[in-house]
């Protein structure tokens, strides 16, 4: 396990970053094209993003602000407003999923709270890849942007079909994307049933006996599930649920507990509060996450992304 050394950027390093490295070309199009409709928030000194209600009519104005203030953190709203500087006249909001590497359930590494390592980032990347695949292939969405935020990823969807959705519908999307509801028929080859099984297989692959026992299953069954993990994961992936149900010691009641446990683990893959909040501000892609000295960058190919791509020049 290679622990990723994350340290705070000094005010001088922030200044160097915004004056010498930051470029408006690093702003993704989905921000650039709607810049004047977004509220911007800043954390000027590391005390939190309390400098809110900012609006920039041009990218040059934003650039001037960033270079002169070299903020600790820069954020923009997921919402577009008629009057961003008043946060009034809501027009629509991106659909957002926040996958935080340090908060993922069932870690494969020994990272303590707040720490992240390459394995954590790799796990988060895997979750993001699954989410993006579901958004594109299942839900038919096209404008799906992935942003590395410094400690995890933001998925930011800008299709018109979802931008007008309100909290209730977004909440349903969280359930769908994460697989946190047990399907009516878990054996369907496609649709939500497959999504649930894929997420559940991921959870099974990482689970230990203790966690299974905590969910309420007997120790012998927990041991069997872990001992035959590979087989069970394969059954789950292929939809051969009947075979899982027939595992020795697994009755209808324990099977239900088993599925509920998996749904619960799946629900922790993203922070649902971020998704349903249509007025959230998120770290601005291209900006510096000064708490960890990493750039917040648009990810073009999640499979090839390396956290090293986000290391600012002052650390190289």
């Amino acid at each position: 396990m290679i622990l990723i050394v994350l340290r705070e950027a000094t005010p001088e390093e922030r200044k160097i970053f915004y004056c010498e490295e930051w470029s408006k070309k690093d702003l993704p199009d989905f921000i650039l094209h709607t810049l004047s409709l977004r509220e911007f928030g800043f954390d000027l000194d590391g005390s939190g993003p309390s400098h809110r209600y900012n609006q920039f009519l041009t990218v040059e104005q934003l650039a001037d602000f960033l270079r002169s203030k070299a903020p600790y953190g820069a954020y923009s709203s997921v919402a577009l407003y008629e009057h961003p500087s008043l946060r009034k006249g809501w027009l629509k909001s991106e659909l957002v999923f926040d996958v935080d590497a340090k908060d993922l359930p069932l870690k494969r590494c020994k990272c303590r709270a707040g720490e992240i390592c390459e394995i954590c980032i790799d796990d988060a990347r895997g979750v993001v890849a699954q989410f993006v695949e579901t958004l594109r292939s299942d839900l038919g969405l096209r404008e799906v942007n992935t942003v590395y935020s410094g400690r995890g990823f933001h998925i930011r969807v800008t299709d018109d079909a979802v931008m007008k959705l309100e909290g209730a519908e977004r909440g349903q999307l969280v359930e769908y994307i994460t697989g946190s509801v047990i399907p009516t028929d878990i054996t369907l080859a496609f649709g939500y049933s497959r999504i649930f099984r894929e997420r559940a297989a991921r959870a099974l692959d990482r689970i230990d006996e203790k966690k299974i026992e905590e969910a309420g299953l007997r120790r012998a069954l927990a041991q069997k599930l872990v001992a035959e993990k590979e087989k069970v994961v394969a059954m789950m992936r292929s939809g051969k649920i009947g075979e899982v149900e027939r595992i020795e010691g697994m009755g209808p009641k324990s099977f239900r507990i088993f599925l509920e446990m998996l749904a619960k683990i799946n629900s922790e893959l993203t922070d649902g509060k971020v998704t349903i909040d249509t007025k959230r501000i998120l770290r601005l892609p291209s900006s510096l996450h000064s708490g960890v000295s990493r750039k917040c960058v648009l990810v073009h190919d999640i499979d090839r992304f390396s956290p090293d791509d986000a290391i600012p020049k002052f650390l190289r």
């Binding site: 009034k88 809501w90 292939s137 299942d138 839900l139 038919g140 969405l141 079909a161 979802v162 007008k164 959705l165 309100e166 909290g167 209730a168 519908e169 977004r170 349903q172 999307l173 359930e175 769908y176 509801v181 399907p183 009516t184 028929d185 054996t187 369907l188 080859a189 496609f190 649709g191 939500y192 049933s193 649930f196 349903i276 909040d277 249509t278 007025k279």
Partner: protein, 416 residues
């Protein structure tokens, strides 16, 4: 071949229906038989009662009675009330039966044309192809069985069975009004490349559900219009009262009912929360005597079913005023800067005046009606009279009156 205006029978919000209303006499001057139909349509149980012939007169009667029903219920009942739910459920039942009947008569094309005004729809090929995607046969059978199980159906003839075979697909995002109102669940849909696969039965359910949601929203907008204006014409009130009297006691209301009872301050709109926290000189009188007094009393007592209001028509225990509502108002007045009653002690009596008890500090039920029970001012009036109280949030966008905000939240349907 049905005439084009027949679209209105399935979709009372279609442009054809709008045209019928536009070309008819004003709704408050319609003949008794249409008024009767506006009430009677809530009692329809058999399919035959719900069906409408193709003549212009029959369709016109149907459309006008639908709109009269909405106007009637909006004139006496607040949004999200049992009455509105009653109307919305009956509308859903009626539309569902009509679309089912048209399908049964082989008029699928007409139905799909109407559905396509609301949902982007494509047909699934007989071999299970959805565009370039092949739905596995096993999945088709399982989806059929899920729907059969949902309807509690076991054995049936081939013709009926066809209603349970997936045949259509609609864009899932077009179902968002149903997702928003909890009438559809995303995780229960079978979605491929953005298309939700549906059986004819699902399609009828969803279409009827969409019309039902539109009906609720329409009634809500009418309510706000009546509430902010001079009230509803007497004809509408009469129809509304007849509808209220039909409400069966056993109606399922858990999801929806707004009951009189304990106030839920967490559901108060931002302007009322500001009043509760106490405000500064300049807006104190308006905030406490006008806005807070009317809001707390209407929210607590939730009157409905009457055109002219007096508190004693709805409560028989004065302690609701003296022990529940008044202390909240007086506490808020005390939190003002300077405290309202310190330099304007007469405002205490003015609070009861606004509740309809006349100028008094010791209200009695018998005094109710001595003055007017002031209604909650509309948002636009608050913005003019006391702009500093108005700090709208997302839910405020959906309402025009603070009371509607509270009902909306209470019904658990505020969304974002």
């Amino acid at each position: 071949m049905r005439p084009q205006f027949y679209v209105s029978v399935l979709d009372p919000f279609s442009k054809e229906a709008e045209e019928i209303v536009r070309n008819s006499p004003p709704l408050d001057s319609l003949p008794g038989e249409i008024c009767d139909r506006a009430v009677k349509r809530l009692t329809w149980r058999s399919g035959r009662e719900m069906l409408v012939g193709s003549s212009k007169d029959e369709v016109q009667q149907e459309v006008l009675s639908f709109y009269l029903m909405c106007q009637g219920v909006a004139s006496v009942s607040h949004p999200y009330s049992r009455e509105v739910r009653f109307v919305s459920d009956a509308t859903e039942r009626t539309i569902k039966y009509r679309i089912f009947d048209l399908f049964r008569r082989g008029e699928e094309a007409l139905c799909l044309e109407i559905v396509k005004n609301h949902l982007r729809l494509i047909k699934i090929e007989d071999d299970g192809r959805l565009g370039d995607f092949q739905i596995p046969k096993q999945d088709i059978f399982k989806l059929r069985d899920i729907r059969l199980a949902k309807d509690g159906v076991d054995l049936m003839d081939d013709r009926t069975l066809a209603q349970y075979i997936p045949r259509y697909a609609v864009r899932w995002a077009d179902l968002s009004p149903l997702l928003k109102h909890g009438r559809a669940e995303l995780t229960k849909l079978y979605i491929i490349k953005g298309w939700a696969v549906l059986t004819p039965r699902d399609l009828w359910d969803f279409f009827a559900g969409l019309i039902s949601v539109r009906t609720e929203e329409y009634i809500s907008s009418l309510y706000e219009r009546f509430y902010s204006g001079k009230g509803a014409p007497q004809l509408f009130v009469g129809i509304g009262e007849r509808i209220s009297s039909l409400l069966p006691p056993e109606i399922e209301v858990e999801r929806f009912a707004i009951k009189r009872g304990r106030l839920r301050p967490d559901f108060f709109p931002p302007c009322v929360k500001r009043c509760m926290a106490g405000v500064g000189a300049g807006v104190r009188n308006y905030a406490i005597t006008v806005l807070l007094t009317s809001f707390l009393s209407y929210a607590r007592i939730s009157p409905s079913g009457k055109a002219s209001l007096k508190i004693s028509d709805f409560i028989d225990d004065i302690s609701i005023i003296t022990d529940e509502i008044a202390p909240l108002i007086f506490d808020a007045a005390e939190r003002c800067n300077p405290p309202l009653f310190k330099d304007q002690p007469q405002e205490k009596a003015n609070v009861f005046y606004h509740l309809g008890f006349g100028m008094t500090v010791e209200p009695k039920l018998a005094d109710s009606g001595k003055s007017r029970w002031y209604k909650v001012p509309n948002c636009n009036k608050i913005q003019i009279s006391a702009p500093s109280l108005c700090d709208p949030d997302e839910t405020c966008k959906k309402i025009k009156n603070p009371l509607t905000y509270y009902y909306l939240k209470l019904a658990g349907r505020a969304g974002g």
